[in-house]
Structures are given as C-alpha cells and as structure tokens.
C-alpha cells in the first residue's frame, strides 16, 4: 500500500489564544506547537497500522516553514516511512491543498489521509480540496477504516448516527476520533526518524483567495449567576425572562 498523510502544525489544545495589538496576527509568544491531533492520533497512526499489517509505505506531507521540521520528525518517529515538506507559508486552505495535490498527482497513492479539521482554523477543507484536484472520492469524518485487498470499508460520523461505505480504488479520507489510538513515539522510533528520507520541495505558485485579515476575541462571560438548588422555578424564570432562550 502506498499511503499519504497530510499533517499540519497547530497550537497546543490548551493554549491561551491572543493576537498582536493591531489584531491582525496570531501571537505565538509562549505557545507550544503540536501536530494537529486529528492528523496525528487518528490519520497518521491508522496509516502506520495499515502498512505494518499489509506492507507498504506511509509518506507524510506538510506545507510550512523550517520551524515545522520538529513536528514532521515526530511523525517519522511515530512510524511514517518518509516525509516531504513544501516550503511555503500556509495562508489559505486552497493554497495548501494545491501544494499537496501537486505532490500527489504523480505518486499514485492508494489512500490520502488527513485529520477531520485542524484545531486552529477549524475549516475541514483541505481533504475535500485535495480530493477534487485529484478527482478522487472523499470520505469525511471517518471513525473506522479497514482495507481488504482493493476494497476499503469506512464508517463515517453523520449527524445523529453513522454511515458505512465501501470504496474501490484510491480515495481521500478525513479521520475522526475512533479511527486509531494515540501512539507515543518510543526511543527506537525517535532514533530511526533521524535517518529517514525527508525532502524539502519548493511550492508551486498559487494565489490566496480567502485569508484572515483581522481577529477579535468573543465577548467574555460576565460571570456566572448562581441559583439556589432548591429554587428551579427561579432558573426557569431567568432563562425565560432574562436570557430569553426558552
């Protein structure tokens, strides 16, 4: 099997988010960056499991600057075979997808994995874009993925339930919770990662059509109003008269 896993770098889940004084840029001072959890825990680990069972390779791809190399090395330590970094500042989803599609179009990957969304821009867009560029099916929010010969069976989360689909031939999948379990790289993996093939390629020229130009913080909660536990009539009254939500 020949697999590709698209990964991005995001602020740690528990990060306190702030922006530069003029509100135009993310303030990365004091922020710990991690591999986007959906890309790592679910997409990458499942891809590694499939290759460990069936043979083949897992290539990891990232679009970003040299400061992403540590994140990419972690992916190699978890079990990816090799890695490609497209050297560019990732400003918009379509730009990123274009770079990934450019790499993938001549490689004949069986499955292209990505996480269900990144925890910074929450767009869920890149996987679908890559699929469209390569004219492949896209199966989103997959919580289970099994491969039997040329056929893959995938369970995907839908609103209020689950759908099971079957696909023959190459496809793009976005991974959600359930597809695999988080894997902590061991010392052997970390040592091996140092000598695994890791190439840096230039980006193809492509415009950014939709970019964030400014940021604001949501209105802070003004403080919780406590209601006595034996006076639920009062809570109902507040929800009706003050909050106007019932």
């Amino acid at each position: 099997m020949k697999l590709l896993v698209c990964v991005s770098k995001t602020p740690d889940t528990t990060s306190k988010i702030s922006f530069t004084a003029d509100g135009t840029k993310f303030n990365d001072a004091g922020i710990t960056f991690i591999m986007n959890p959906y890309d790592e825990w679910y997409a990458l680990v499942r891809a590694c499991e499939l290759v460990e069972k069936n043979g083949g390779t897992v290539t990891l791809i990232n679009v970003g600057g040299a400061d992403n190399d540590q994140t990419i090395r972690k992916g190699l330590a978890i079990g990816a075979t090799d890695a490609v970094r497209v050297d560019a500042e990732p400003k918009s989803a379509l730009f990123i997808a274009k770079q990934i599609a450019e790499h993938a179009k001549s490689q004949n990957y069986d499955i292209i994995f990505c996480g269900k969304e990144s925890i910074d821009y929450n767009g869920s867009e890149v996987g679908a874009m890559v699929a469209e560029y390569l004219d492949l099916p896209f199966i989103s929010y997959a919580s289970k993925l099994d491969v039997n010969g040329a056929t893959a069976t995938v369970e995907r989360d839908i609103e209020g339930g689950v759908e099971t689909v079957e696909v023959n031939g190459p496809f793009v999948v976005s991974a959600a919770k359930g597809m695999a379990e988080q894997r902590i790289p061991n010392m052997m993996g970390i040592m091996k990662a140092k000598s695994k093939p890791f190439t840096v390629v230039p980006a193809v020229s492509f415009p950014d059509y939709a970019v964030p130009v400014s940021y604001t913080m949501p209105k802070a909660k003004t403080g919780v109003k406590l209601v006595a536990p034996d006076n639920m009539e009062e809570l109902v009254r507040l929800l009706h008269e003050e909050a106007k939500v019932i």
Binding site: A128, D157, E163, N168, V211, V227, M232
Partner: protein, 319 residues
C-alpha cells in the same frame, strides 16, 4: 446571483437549509442581486424555500443523489453555479456542507469561508465574512478576493426570516457523474433534532454515575424539546452513543441554550460548546471549571436538582 444549496435528509429540507436560504437572500439584497436555491434529488416541499427568500428554486433529478457522495453533489452544484452564472455560493456548515465546500473551492477556483457567522461586509470593495477560529476561542474576519465566493454558514447563527412566498420548482438539466462510493448502511437516530442543528441541548457527564440514571436527563430534554448530548468519558465508556459526544474530538455545537449536568468542564469539552449562547451548569462541586464559562450555575446534587428543574419546566410549559 447568490446560489444556495439547500440540504435535505430523507427528502425533507433541513433547518440548516432554511437558514442558508435566509442568509443567501440577505446577501443578495446587499449585493443588489437575487437569491436562487438549488435542491438535488427527490425533495418534498422545495418550493417553500421561496418563503425564506429564494426568488427561484431549481431541482436536479438523478439517481446518483439518493445517497450523499461529495464528488457527485459537488459536480452538480459546480455545474449549476457555472450554468446560472452565480458569483456567491452558500452552503450549510454541516457534515455534508463541509465536504462540499472544499471540493467546490478547488473546482470553481474560489475562496471559501467555512462556518461563517456574519453577512458579508462589502464596504471598500472587499468581501469580508467572520468565522470562529481556534475552536471557538477567537473570531477571524476573512476577506475573499476570488471572482466566485463560497460560504458555508454556521448553524443556528441567522434567525429564520419567513416573509416570502412559495415558488414553483423548476427543473435544471445537469448530468452528474456516477458515485464511486457504495453506501452499505445508514444508522441514524430518527425523530431527534441532530446536535449541530439543535437550539436547546441537555448534556450530561460522569456525575451521572452510570447509564441507568439517564432517564432523568432524557425526561428534561423531552420536556424542553431539547436534544441530548454527553461528555467524552461517557461516550468512551459506552454509556451513551458516540454521536452524542460533544467537545473537541466530538461534535461542536452552538445552541441557544446548553445545559451541562455533572460535567466538570475540561478545556477540550469547552472547545466544543463555547459557542453556545447561554450555558447553564449543574454540578455539586463549586470549584468545577465549567462555572467560569457558565451564565447560570446551580451548585447541588444533580439527582435532586434535575428532577426539580424538570418539574419547574413542566409547570412553565403548561402555563
């Protein structure tokens, strides 16, 4: 022209579709243009989209639309966009809309905003739309510069406006490709408002002590017309179905009212619910971090508080 793809499930229009058309109509008004709705496959009452502001409703027939496949649906929507000359395309930010948005962006060479919270601001020649980022911790303003603009509207963001008239549904001839994906089964809980569309959500966590105690949560939800949800440990322990899990790794929701029962409020849980308009927290631990994110709080034993709340709600509903 603003083209709105109106989503349906089992042939019925989703509430998200009505919201998208309302949004599309208001956007068209800003642009001095018209709003046209598109439905795919067999849809009942598609003409009612006129009530929400569509000046025309088109339908494309085809067996391929029986099950959802992003490749098939995106092809049809892209063809309709080109055929009708639409310059703004509006989708719903649902699991369906999310898998279409990226495909359409690539196919139409267009900039997109996933999970839009505002009408476009077109002052100064821009096309600016806001959306939540960093899992609801911040709001970003995006500027779209491509000739075609794509927007997936966040759920429960725009109040429905039903002041138009039903329109006749016109057939649009478009050939959609055959699906390469075979749907083996669809298991969907019937008769509930799906979480991403719910305006009221009653959610419970480990404080419930076991799945056998969920009756009181379901009763409260039923009285309120709410959808039930749960925290991650509860779904992981199989106390509740996986699709009820709200939080960072589960479903992200944005109801008008979120009632959290026996949930401590870990940052990963908050990431999935912090865009709720009003949050009520019921917890016996006054130090539970969730109280910091709540509008109303009740410090007390949920096994006593929840039945009392249900009784008070019943009284309110009956009045």
């Amino acid at each position: 022209m603003v083209l709105v793809f109106a989503e349906a499930v089992n042939g019925q229009l989703k509430k998200a579709a009505l919201e998208a058309v309302t949004y599309g109509a208001q956007t068209a008004q800003l642009l001095g243009s018209q709003c046209v709705a598109l439905t795919l496959g067999n849809i009942q009452n598609a003409g009612q989209l006129g009530v929400y502001g569509a000046s025309k409703v088109y339908n494309v027939q085809g067996e391929a639309f029986g099950n959802f496949d992003s490749q098939v649906f995106a092809s049809a929507i892209a063809q309709a966009t080109e055929k009708l000359g639409a310059t703004v395309v509006v989708l719903s930010h649902t699991s369906t809309g999310k898998s279409l948005l990226g495909r359409l962006a690539a196919r139409l060479n267009a900039g997109s905003v996933a999970g839009a919270k505002s009408l476009p601001d077109i002052s100064g020649g821009g096309f600016k739309v806001t959306k939540g980022v960093y899992s609801g911790k911040a709001i970003a303003t995006y500027d779209i510069s491509s000739p075609i603009k794509l927007i997936a509207l966040a759920g429960n963001e725009i109040p429905l406006k039903a002041d138009g008239n039903e329109v006749a549904v016109e057939t649009l001839e478009i050939a959609a490709p055959a699906s390469k994906v075979k749907v083996l089964s669809v298991k969907r809980e019937e008769g509930i408002v799906p979480l991403p569309e719910a305006t009221t959500v009653v959610s419970a966590g480990r404080g419930m002590k076991g799945p056998e105690n969920w009756g009181m949560v379901e009763e409260l939800a039923q009285v309120m017309g709410a959808t039930t949800a749960c925290s991650r440990p509860v779904a992981d322990a199989d106390w509740r179905p996986h699709h009820e899990h709200v939080g960072q790794t589960g479903v992200a929701i944005r109801p008008n009212l979120y009632i959290a029962i026996g949930i401590s409020g870990a940052i990963q849980h908050l990431a999935g619910v912090n865009q709720s308009k009003v949050i009520v927290v019921i917890n016996k631990d006054p130090e539970a971090p969730f109280f910091k994110a709540a509008d109303y709080g009740v410090v007390g034993d949920l096994f006593e508080v929840v039945p009392r709340l249900t009784a008070a709600m019943k009284k309110f509903k009956a009045a």
